[in-house]
Structures are given as C-alpha cells and as structure tokens.
C-alpha cells in the first residue's frame, strides 16, 4: 500500500500517522486514525473524477492477470506462441479451470516490477500477441470451452516491428474471431481498456468492467494533445479529455457499451485483492451460467447483434 495517488495525500498522511502511533504502542489513537483514513477514502472514491479513475485504473498495485489466474482458477496451463512468428508476453493465454469448468483465459499482462514490465512491454501487445489470442479462441471454439478475457492495456504497441508485421490486420482479425466463435465469451476490463488493442479481445457476449477501470478510444493524454493541443504532463488537458470522452464504467453502462459493473473494495481494487477476487468470481460465474445453456449459433448471433447496435439509431 506504499503507492498513493496524487489525490490521496490526506489519506497518506493519516495512514502514516497511524503506522507511527502503532509503532509507538498508541493502539487506540492508531485505530482512530485508521478509521478516519477509511472514511476519507470512502468519500474520495465515492466521487472520483474520470481523470482520478484513470489514475486508479493504472495503479501499479492493482490486481493484474497473474493475480486473477492465481486467485480464480486452478489447473492453470499457460499456452504460448502464435505459430506464425513468435511469443508475445504482453498477452498471456491459458487453459484453466473456473468453478470446476475448463475455460480458456486470455489477458493483457502489464508486469509487476521494472524487469517484468519491460518483458511484458507494459501490456502493449504486438501482432504475435493478438494472433496468439486468435489461436486460443479458435482452440476454445473447437473444444467447446468458454473464453474469459481480462483487458488491461494502454493500447497496442506503436512500433516499427509491430507495423511491419501487420498490427492493424492482427487486431482486425482478432475482433473478427471474437465475433465468430460459438462458445461464450465474457470480457472483463480490469484496468485500462486502451483503444483497438483492448477491443480486439473485448467483443464478448458480456462485457464487464471493474468500477474504477476505464475504457476509451484514445488515452485522455492523447485526446488532449490532439484536440486541446496540450502536451502531456503539467498543463495537460487530459482531465478535461477524460471527462468529455466518457471513459468510466458508469458512463459506459449508460451508453450500453458494457453490461455490468463489478464494484471495487473501498479505496480501489489495489487495497484489497482478496475481496476483488471474490466479487469478480461471483460476477463471472453468474455471467457464464447464463450463457452456458445457449446453442452455438445463438451465442454468436447474440454477440453480433449486440455490437451491430453500438451507436445505432
């Protein structure tokens, strides 16, 4: 819990004092300080601005795919490679067991420390990652396994090698695969749903979002730099852009882009991984149960009809 966001300064001060009081044996004072901190957190998180939510969605201690794989699944078997070019650690895929049932899990991996962040390229996938996702969705389709995706990426990797190997084609075909398979596909946006790199694995029968996640066509910084012509960093209009673009779970539920919000523990998912897992487990189990009985053609058709209506009259 060592990383506080800029708007959490008050909470940070209270929690630091509480820790000091605890260390000095003033238990009652510590308890009172902690209670005040919790109350303040509750207040803060009850009315986060879209920009503050963006910061929470990017919090380094937020649960990431390794936490979900460990917390929700058993018999996890990671699968690697696109069979065309390489293995991209920015998207992980696995066979796994959820509530006793075999499923395919696909998700962006951002990394947990400097070394692993570099290895996972901060969750920015290359074409290989998307083509591996296609391969695993097709595998799931062949064997009748539901697919669960965990979406958490700043966006697809903007690099020369990625362009060279057809980043756009890889994303397009992954979305196409999402819309083609005859097994249930449930997508959960757990952090940043960054643009085409996110939607490629998020065109599901049901799209869920953690309460403080964001989902957007471009990052608030990117939008601000184009429309407001402000650079990133100080003076950026990113907070205004985040507000205007409607990036929060509540906005997206209202717009019909997502189907369900999974509420986070007080102060965000990063403060209580265990409770986050419990809530995600419940939500996923309910969604999968509702889809399970449906025949293949109906699952595919319902998914297509859902996306055909996006922004329609």
């Amino acid at each position: 819990m060592s990383t506080y966001l800029e708007f959490e300064a008050g909470v940070a001060a209270l929690e630091t004092s509480a820790a000091r009081a605890e260390g000095e044996g003033r238990a009652a004072e510590a308890a009172e300080l902690r209670e005040r901190a919790t109350r303040q957190l509750k207040d803060l998180y009850a009315r986060l601005t879209p920009w503050q939510r963006t910061l929470v969605a990017r919090h380094p201690a937020r649960p990431h795919i390794p936490h979900y794989l460990a917390g929700l699944f058993t018999e996890v078997m990671p699968l690697a490679g696109d069979r065309l070019y390489g293995e991209d650690p920015a998207i992980v895929g696995a066979l796994a067991r959820f509530e006793g049932q075999s499923v395919v899990v696909i998700g962006h991996a951002k990394g947990e420390d400097t070394e692993s962040r570099l290895r996972h390229n901060f969750g920015m996938a290359r074409p290989e990652g998307y083509r591996k996702a296609q391969r695993l969705m097709q595998l799931a389709d062949r064997f009748g396994l539901p697919v669960i995706t965990f979406v958490d990426t700043p966006g697809a990797f903007p690099g020369v090698d990625a362009e060279e190997r057809g980043q756009a084609e890889a994303i397009a075909r992954t979305t196409e695969t999402c819309l083609a398979i005859g097994v249930p596909l449930v997508a959960l946006i757990v952090g940043e749903g960054g643009s085409g790199g996110a939607v490629a694995i998020a065109a599901g029968n049901r799209v869920l979002m953690l309460e403080h996640s964001i989902y957007s066509v471009i990052s608030p910084e990117g939008c601000a730099s184009i429309l407001w012509r402000t650079p990133a960093g100080r003076g950026s209009k990113a907070p205004e852009a985040a507000e205007a673009m409607k990036v929060t779970a509540a906005d997206l539920l209202r717009l019909g882009v997502i189907d369900r919000i999974v509420y986070e523990p007080v102060g965000g998912a990063h403060r209580d991984h265990a409770l986050t897992m419990t809530r995600v487990r419940t939500a996923l189990a309910e969604e999968l149960a509702a889809l399970e009985a449906q025949p293949r053609a109906a699952l595919r058709e319902a998914r297509r009809e859902k996306f055909l209506k996006m922004g329609a009259l």
């Binding site: 020369v160 980043q167 994303i171 083609a180 085409g196 407001w228 012509r229 205007a244 673009m245």
Partner: protein, 285 residues
C-alpha cells in the same frame, strides 16, 4: 496587410473563391510543381510530374469508378449528432456543421451503386476532407447500410478507405464501430458476397484495424500512408527516425498486407476485372 493582399481578399469576396487566380493553379504536395488545376483534375488529381496521388472526395471517386460515371447515391439514415455532448476547444456540432458545409456530405462515408466493369456493385468512399475521414457512429451506420444493400442485392461491396484517426468526439462509441463494422464483414463473407478494400491516403488507426484489413482483396493507391499507429506516436515511442517509405502502400505490399498497388488511372479497370472474377461474370465482348 498590404494593399495587394487586401485588394485580393476584396476581389475574392466579390467573385467567390472559385474564380480567383489562386485556384487556377494547384501546387503538387509531392514535388511542389505548379499544376494547372483543370488539367490536374482531368488527370484524376495525379501529378503528371511525380505521380503523386492527391486525395479526392466521394463525388470524384464515384465518377472515376462506375462505368460511364453513372451511379445512384444510397441514402443513409443517420443517428443523432453528438451522442456524448462533447466539447473541446469547439463544440462538436460546430465542427460537424463546418465539415458538412465544406464537403456537402452528411458524414465521412458516402455510398453509391452502379456497375464497375459491368458488375453491379456498391461503393463506399470515406472522405478525408470530412473531419479527417474519422470513424464515428455515422460512418458505422453508412458501412452497415452499404453491406446490407450488398447482401440484399448480392452485389460486391467496394470500400474505399481514408481515415486519419478516431472520431474522438464520439469517444467509446467511435471505438465500438470497429466490432460493429466487423460484424457486417463477417456476414458478407458468409454469404459469399465479395468485399474489396481500396486503401487510399491516409488509412490509419481503428479503420485500418477493422474493416480496412478484412477484405477478400486489398488494393492500395501508390504512396498511400497505411498503418495502425501514427508516425509521430511511433517516433516518440522508439525515439528514432522512421525508415524511408515506412507505412506507404509499397511497404505494405512488400510486407504482405495488400495484394496490389494500382495507379488511379487503372483502378476502375482493375476493379472491373477483379469483380468479374469473383462473381464469375464473363469477360465483356
């Protein structure tokens, strides 16, 4: 302001922009040569000196592609403007209004039907002049409409793409047009109705990462910029200059992403041949 420029501004006001000497000449964006506008346009807006293919709008494109320049526009029922009530430095409805006035089109994707090389076809033309060809719910609606007509009448759908980026003012709804349009591509493929993409300058972002890369056949115009990420974003990520010809049509051809690069003068004939093959239409006498 000198008297000369003031005088000219006044003359422009009186005559209207069309007749002032400024528009008599067009400077080629490829090589800088001054070209007589009428001749340049008669040459399909391709520079005779360097071969640069200038961007053209739906009207010129339809006239170029359909047999005898005969075609019928397909109307699109448009969703309400400004679904997010978006405001940046300007209000979004003002930007839309200006784009409509400048182009005479309702949104960035115009549709028409006619025959190409004798094959009855539907053509969609994305207009870079309309807010950078950006994809929002209006473009999505037009794409869906085009595919519906193609499916109902079993005509090939030729999609001429151009987009500089997302319609940011429509936020997530702009992003959702990627899966939305992809659904219609899937339906065309399953019905065996040809879907051909003509990639023109520039085709980038979500458009490239959805329907522009899902054609049965991909044709690109010479020199067209085609890619996912913008050059500036890539440069700032990798901190080095991009290779010569990066993300140009010829580069995509070399990397296996398009089937052919075709000069505008041969585009209609090439499409005609292609559509006849895909629809098993006999060679014209």
């Amino acid at each position: 302001m000198s008297w000369l420029t003031r005088g000219r501004a006044r003359i422009q006001q009186i005559l209207g922009r069309r007749d002032v000497p400024d528009n008599l000449w067009t400077k080629c964006r490829g090589c800088g040569t001054m070209l007589y506008t009428k001749e340049f346009e008669a040459n399909l807006s391709v520079c005779p000196a360097c071969g640069h293919h200038e961007r053209i709008g739906p009207a010129a494109r339809f006239a170029l592609l359909f047999d005898g320049a005969v075609f019928e526009r397909i109307p699109v029922e448009m969703p309400a403007d400004d679904p997010l009530k978006f405001r940046d430095l300007k209000r979004y409805p003002e930007r839309l209004k200006a784009a409509r006035a400048a182009t005479g089109e309702a949104d960035a994707l115009a549709l028409a039907k006619g025959t190409i090389g004798t094959v009855p076809s539907v053509v969609g033309v994305q207009d870079f002049a309309f807010l950078g060809g950006s994809m929002g719910v209006g473009v999505g609606a037009a794409f869906v409409r085009a595919a519906e007509v193609a499916l109902a009448e079993r005509r090939p759908f030729v999609m001429v793409t151009a987009a500089g980026g997302a319609r940011m003012q429509e936020g997530i709804l702009s992003l959702m047009q990627m899966p939305r349009t992809t659904v219609m591509v899937a339906r065309l493929k399953e019905a065996g109705v040809p879907y051909v993409v003509v990639l023109t300058d520039p085709t980038t972002g979500g458009v490239t990462a959805s329907y522009a890369m899902l054609g049965d056949v991909h044709i690109a115009e010479p020199g067209a910029l085609i890619g996912f990420a913008g050059a500036r974003v890539i440069e700032s990520t990798i901190r080095e200059k991009l290779p010569e010809g990066f993300q140009r049509a010829e580069y995509l051809l070399a990397h296996g992403m398009v089937d052919m690069v075709v000069r505008r003068h041969e585009l209609a004939a090439t499409l005609g041949r292609l559509l006849r093959h895909l629809t098993r239409t006999p060679e014209p006498a």
